[in-house]
């Protein structure tokens, strides 16, 4: 050992050099080694990544369920049925002060704010994404604006006050988030701010959108117009509501003739193939309950909406039950559609006292809802009967979709149509008076506890 030869020492030195070099090479080249792009788990980098987000209907379709429960479309009887309901359905049905326990989630609130978050991410950064054309980016951006506006309109009509054009600047709205910041303040914005944002977003989107989307899960100009029509109707700006309904109908006025499906409901189109759907939205789950006999009585004999879309003896529920979801993949459609636009337009004509135009629209819709044998044209001579007729048609056409709840809210401001709603639940009577604060949904305690700056809805 002690008698190393010179050559051995030289050899050792050479080995040492090589070893050090090799180590250095292996070590330094790897800085970027681990930063390899993933196939299905990616960051939002390219315009196509944003396109994928916009393509995902699951990001935008989920909506609410409680407006169906709180509306007078439902009148449940039978203690067993009532007892079987979820606690939040029980509370919402009697317009209780609070709907949720401390740890319960409000699925309606969560769904819409999830949509808003997703849209905010897209709106915030799509314009700076890579590998996309200006046109592509614009369209993605515009779709996100429409989807965000839809979510805000539905939120503000559940939790906000009833829009009164005279008082909107001081009325309570909902927290208005327009960036994806996870730590911003959540104070409730005023109604005029929220509606202002909705109108601004949709108007900004319209020029950037194609007339219709690739499918009715995508927003096009037609969905933007339809959304503005609904928005202005709720804002009681009837002129604009009518104008935008016209614009939407100009792009899509298809109706399903229900006679085609008598005894043949297996052929009833699913939402993506349904020509009536302008922007697809789905209820947050199913709610099967007895329909209000008062609503059932509004249907004339031969009305296929009653025949095809309601049934008796469903899961032991007494009375008639809305069964259209059975043909709709299990969901209630809560989005924008052609009949709603026709009814919006008709309501605006009715409010203006235009008898022929109102009847023309209503009859056009009704023709597709009856068998030829039973169909009869509506005829109205007194202008005062026009608005109730349109509202009744809305009740039949938009049955159990929850849209009735938003109508009930806004009709509070029509003295002739505002009336108390009375219902009995588990042996107790409840009344919802016009203008009551119970027309506003309470915000779940779990949401308030995490951000106390959010104000509870007035009770």
């Amino acid at each position: 050992m002690e008698d190393f030869k010179i050559s051995d020492k030289m050899k050792n030195l050479r080995y040492k050099t090589w070893t050090c070099l090799l180590l250095a090479v292996i070590g330094s080249s790897c800085r970027k080694y681990v930063e390899v792009d993933q196939y299905s788990n990616r960051t939002l980098k390219y315009t196509s990544d944003f396109q994928y987000v916009i393509n995902n209907r699951n990001n935008f379709e989920p909506s609410y369920i409680l407006p169906t429960v709180t509306s007078d479309d439902i009148a449940t009887t039978g203690t067993a049925q009532q007892n079987a309901w979820n606690s939040e359905y029980k509370a919402a049905y009697v317009w209780a002060a609070g709907f949720y326990g401390d740890t319960q989630t409000d699925i309606g609130w969560n769904n819409f704010y999830k949509t808003i978050y997703t849209c905010n991410e897209v709106i915030f950064s799509v314009m700076s994404s890579e590998n996309g054309t200006k046109v592509q980016k614009d369209q993605i951006y515009a779709e996100a604006l429409v989807n965000r506006a839809f979510a805000y309109l539905m939120l503000v009509n559940q939790y906000g006050e009833i829009y009164d054009p005279a008082k909107a600047t001081t009325q309570i709205g909902v927290p208005l988030l327009t960036t994806p910041d996870l730590y911003q303040k959540l104070n409730r914005a005023s109604l005029s701010d929220v509606y202002g944002q909705i109108v601004k977003d949709v108007e900004q989107a319209i020029p950037l959108l194609p007339n219709t989307g690739n499918n009715n899960g995508h927003a096009g100009k037609v969905s933007a117009y339809a959304l503005l029509s609904r928005c202005y109707l709720y804002m009681r700006n009837f002129a604009l509501a009518g104008d935008y309904a016209d614009k939407a109908l100009a792009l899509n006025s298809s109706l399903n003739n229900l006679t085609t499906y008598v005894g043949n409901m297996g052929k009833f189109p699913l939402r993506l193939n349904d020509p009536e759907v302008i922007l697809s939205r789905l209820s947050a789950g199913q709610f099967r309950a007895q329909l209000n006999p008062e609503l059932i009585n509004l249907f004339q004999a031969g009305d296929l909406r009653l025949e095809l879309f309601t049934g008796t003896g469903v899961q032991g529920i007494p009375g008639r039950v809305y069964i259209r979801p059975n043909f709709n993949e299990g969901y209630i459609y809560t989005g924008l559609n052609v009949p709603e636009m026709m009814l919006n337009r008709a309501e605006v004509y009715a409010r203006a006292g235009d008898i022929p135009k109102t009847l023309d629209l209503l009859n056009k819709l009704r023709q597709s809802r009856f068998t030829a044998v039973t169909y009869q044209d509506l005829s109205i001579s007194n202008p005062a009967d026009l608005l109730p007729a349109v509202i009744n048609e809305r009740r039949r056409e938009l049955m159990a979709t929850g849209l009735r709840w938003f109508d009930m809210r806004r009709l509070n401001l029509d003295a002739a149509l505002a009336k108390p709603v009375v219902r009995t639940f588990l042996g107790q009577d409840y009344t919802l008076n016009p203008g009551s604060n119970r027309y506003l949904y309470p915000i779940a305690p779990a949401v308030l506890n995490l951000n106390p700056e959010i104000q509870q809805s007035p009770r």
Binding site: C30, Q38, N56, P180, V447
Partner: protein, 1189 residues
Amino acid sequence: MTRKLLLLIGLLFCAWMEQSGFAQEKMSLQKALSEIQRTYGTKFSYRADLIKNMQTDLTLPLNKSQPVEGVLKRILYPHKLLFLYVQENYYTLVRDTREEQERPAADQQNIPEPNYRTITGKVTDEQGRPLIGATVFPEGMGIRNGSITSSDGGYVLRLLGPVDAIVFSYVGMQPTKIALGKGNVVNAVLTGEQNMLEEVTVVSTGYSKLPKERSTGSFGIATAKDIKEVPAVNILEKLEGMIPGVQVDLRKNTISIRGRNSFGTGVSSSPLIVVDGFPVMDVDDNNANLSDIASGGGASGGAVLNRFNPEDIESITVLKDAAASSIWGAKAANGVIVIETKKGRNTPPVINFGVNFSVSAPADLNKLKVMNSAQYIDLEREIKDLGFISDPAIKQDWASFNNNAPVSEALEWMFKVDRGTATAQQRDAALAALGQIDNKSQIRDLLLQRAVSQQYNLSFSGGSNKSTYYLSTNYTKDVPVFRGNKAESFFVNSNLTNKLFNDRVDLTFGLNYNYSNSINNPAAIDAMGNSVRGLKPYELLQDAQGNNISRYIRYTQAVSQDFESKGYLPWGYSPLDDLSQTNYNEQSNRLRVNMGIDTKIIDGVNFVVSGMLQRNIVDTENLDKVNSYGVRDLLNYGTSIDPNSGKLVYGVPYGGTLGLINYNGWEYNLRSQVNVDKNVGNFLNVNFLAGAEIRQTKYQSSSQSRYGFNEDTYSDQVVNPTVPYQTVEGWTSTLSYQNTLRKSVNRALSYYTNIGLSFLSGKYVASGSLRFDDFTVTGASRNQRAKPLWSAGLKWNAKMESFVEQINWLNALDVRLTYGVGGTMPTGVGNQVVINTSTDNLTNEQIATIASPANNQISWEKVKTFNLGVDFAVLNNRLAFNVDVYNKKTSDILYNLPFNPTYGWTMLQFNSASMKSNGFELGMRASVIKHRDYSWNALFNFSYNTNEVTDNRFLKNTTSNLVNLSTPTVGLPLDYMYAYRWAGLDAQGQSQIYDKNGKILNASVGNNKLTSDDLVYMGRTTAPYFGGFNNDFRYKNFTLGVRISYAMGNVLRRPSVKDYPTYSPYQGLISTQSDLALRWRKPGDEAFTNVPGLKDISFNSLNRYQNSDLLTISGSYIRLQQISAGYIVPAKLLKRTPLKSASVNASVRNLGLLWTKNKDGIDPSYVNTGSYNNLPPTKAFFISLNTSF
């Protein structure tokens, strides 16, 4: 960061290169032998007490170019020890007794008398077979004057002086001395060695092998012999109770080391498994269907371990504390299991052949806690009388036909009376007849079978001084108790080593291949389960004529038969028919190839480049033939009748369904490492390693559903899942269509270094390690990903201190102290938005979901581990103890905390939670009886582990919901359990509980009136105390082993009744638990039963009963796991055979409990005895035969 680290490594490296001091170091003789083994691969056997307390000087590092004999002479001769050549590179150490005898001899022989003499002879074993390579030397002369027997066992010994006797030795044989008479021919017959041999222990971390004396960490070791002791096919069963701190759950096929460190999101609790220096690749796919591929549920340790042939395992080392495992960095947070497979040795070729055969009967169905037919009918009657079930003959008016599901035969009779189609007498007679039927014997005979497993193992090993080889192959066939199921696997393993360039370069090559094939049929399990296909106790499989009975499940008999008459397929279900109609087949191919080049740069400095390539290919074919019930039901349900033509319209193409899943994963590892082993002066030895490695894991997978499949032509029909079809009930439906494609690539980069300093021949040892890991994590920046992890340890070999050395009763004592920081990388979250992409089946658009938002407040989860260990031995080393106490603190646990949904997220990951855990481990080895002909060795393990959440934000849930929760709670262990205080039933037969003041509350008191204070804390649900007690007895050629395992200190809920109808109308199966027969029926029953009655049953009433302290039992048990008997065939009997050795072993496993704390006779490991899968396994009988040529 990297640059700096590299510079550091380089500097350190160069610094050690400059050191050229080769100094002598004083160390224990045992340690010196370990060093020799490490350097030369030389193996030694010797009596345990032979080299006790001996010190020697050894020049470290050892120079491999010097012959090992020279080194051995230098260290052994001064201690009057001889090393006897056994085989190439294998020596036996014996005491040199010649001096004592030489002296008198020298006295006698004042006059030198030259006595040249040549002795010849033959050395044989007891069977007269020649022993080749036996050592023969003249007594008192030392081995230098000796000789070695040649291939015929003959020898020639030239004596240079007067000698009294000749000594013969051979490994595994008793050294024999034969007095020298007048004759010049001395033949020797050697007999088997009966003394216990002890081998030097070397621990392997996967990166390096280290003598145990020089390691500071906490290790647990199972040797090949230990592993062979348990004949089970499953390696987990082999490890059970063997190593302190290692907890095995055979039912879940999981293994855990020192309990839980974290309750974080997506953090695995299974240890890292390393085989031959590289981690075993996981099946790493987040597709739920694919994760089922790895039997045992994903990447649990158990499933991974079973991909290796137990016969090929040389040793299993468990790295438990930070000092032991931190060299593995982020993956080591849950401990590491290092497996070394067998390598060839420098021996003549050895062929080993072994057969294992095991058989076990199906579990006793009478042990199922289910009701008999009469009891079940009685329950059905009460349920019907209370109005929970309505008559299936009554059509719902909105349905186009009566689409009610049928009721059982007994209920049908009851409804017949209501309908007026049968009289009460007819019904009672029919029910009485049904009540006599028991389907258990048919289930046993027709759906179950004897479980049989066969294993054949053949290995071939050997080598020369330049190369070694080990080749093995194994075939295993498993037939489980359920008919229609089987599995087989095939292993090939080869390890080759070569020394090149004057022994300067060591080349190693290893190949490991595993093929497995399993066929599954769910019919037997379904028939015994609680699904709609489950059999009621009176439902037979075959009628008296031996025809298979089929029953209608979806619609009533009348409706189904009506459809059948219209051309629908038969709609009945028979489990026996389905045995041949479904075939779930999975085939997997797993290949590991590794190569290493170990080059000596200078003495004591080696440079190692090694790599591993792994491939996993798993193909699954789930075939439901067209005649299976599932497919017939699918086809029928998708068939409608055209209202105009009356023709059948088929919505689903006619034919079977085939689910195809293909998984293709591959991984490479590349590592370069420098090992330095040098002495500084004569007081310090430095063992240093530093290296860098890269790893890439990729997988690609696809799954498809095929419809209209014809197995004869192996063809299918194209379907369009976006086009709906009309169902028989008039709804629309679409075919569930699975067509997923996945691909993933992940990379990792690591730098690591480890240094061990051994002062004063190992009296004091210090070690430290440092590692950087960097992974592919989408959305995380580099400084979030790469973090250093480190550990440090100290060891004091107290026995080497002079003041301890004198304590004679204490044979060994050392103290270890280690501390380290381990960590887990957050995955799937980071400072950028991450999306998951897929395809929308209806629109064919590419879609994405935002999986996680940008969150800057994310970093690593950290586990700080402190370990104190003491090892000592007393009573001449016959009783040896290892004691470890540890404490772990985990901080920054990544947890999904509630977030305001207004921001779009109801939960968000933050790393801020914390917990702590601690434990105690005791390992004891005792040589209770030690005698030439008989012995008793015992191994006893005891482990304790507990944990506690320390984060103040996890406040105890204040509602009574706590009873069902498992969410982390501050101040409580992760597996806490609360229960209601049971107060018996009330006069209405419903639950009552005590509140915190002892007031009795009935079931009508809502849960909102209760708080968590009204509950009582029961304890933990996993056993904090566990271990094993293994005994090996030997009498001559017979051995007897008894293995006992135990777990104590936990509680569990005894399942009593499961599904009561708590609402009406009740739909679905009624449970069959035997406790239901004890239910309350009429006022007064509450005096003797606690099972709530059916009338007015509410969710609260049932829930409070199920979660009451009444049903909480202790989980403590002591289990007799195995008794085995072995016999080594005496060589005499093998005389006329080509066999070198042969042994037979017979074992019985699953012998049942020796003791349980609970008084209900419940086996705590198998509580849920309502279903067959949870029955305790029956006794399994194993026979194994091992031979070598």
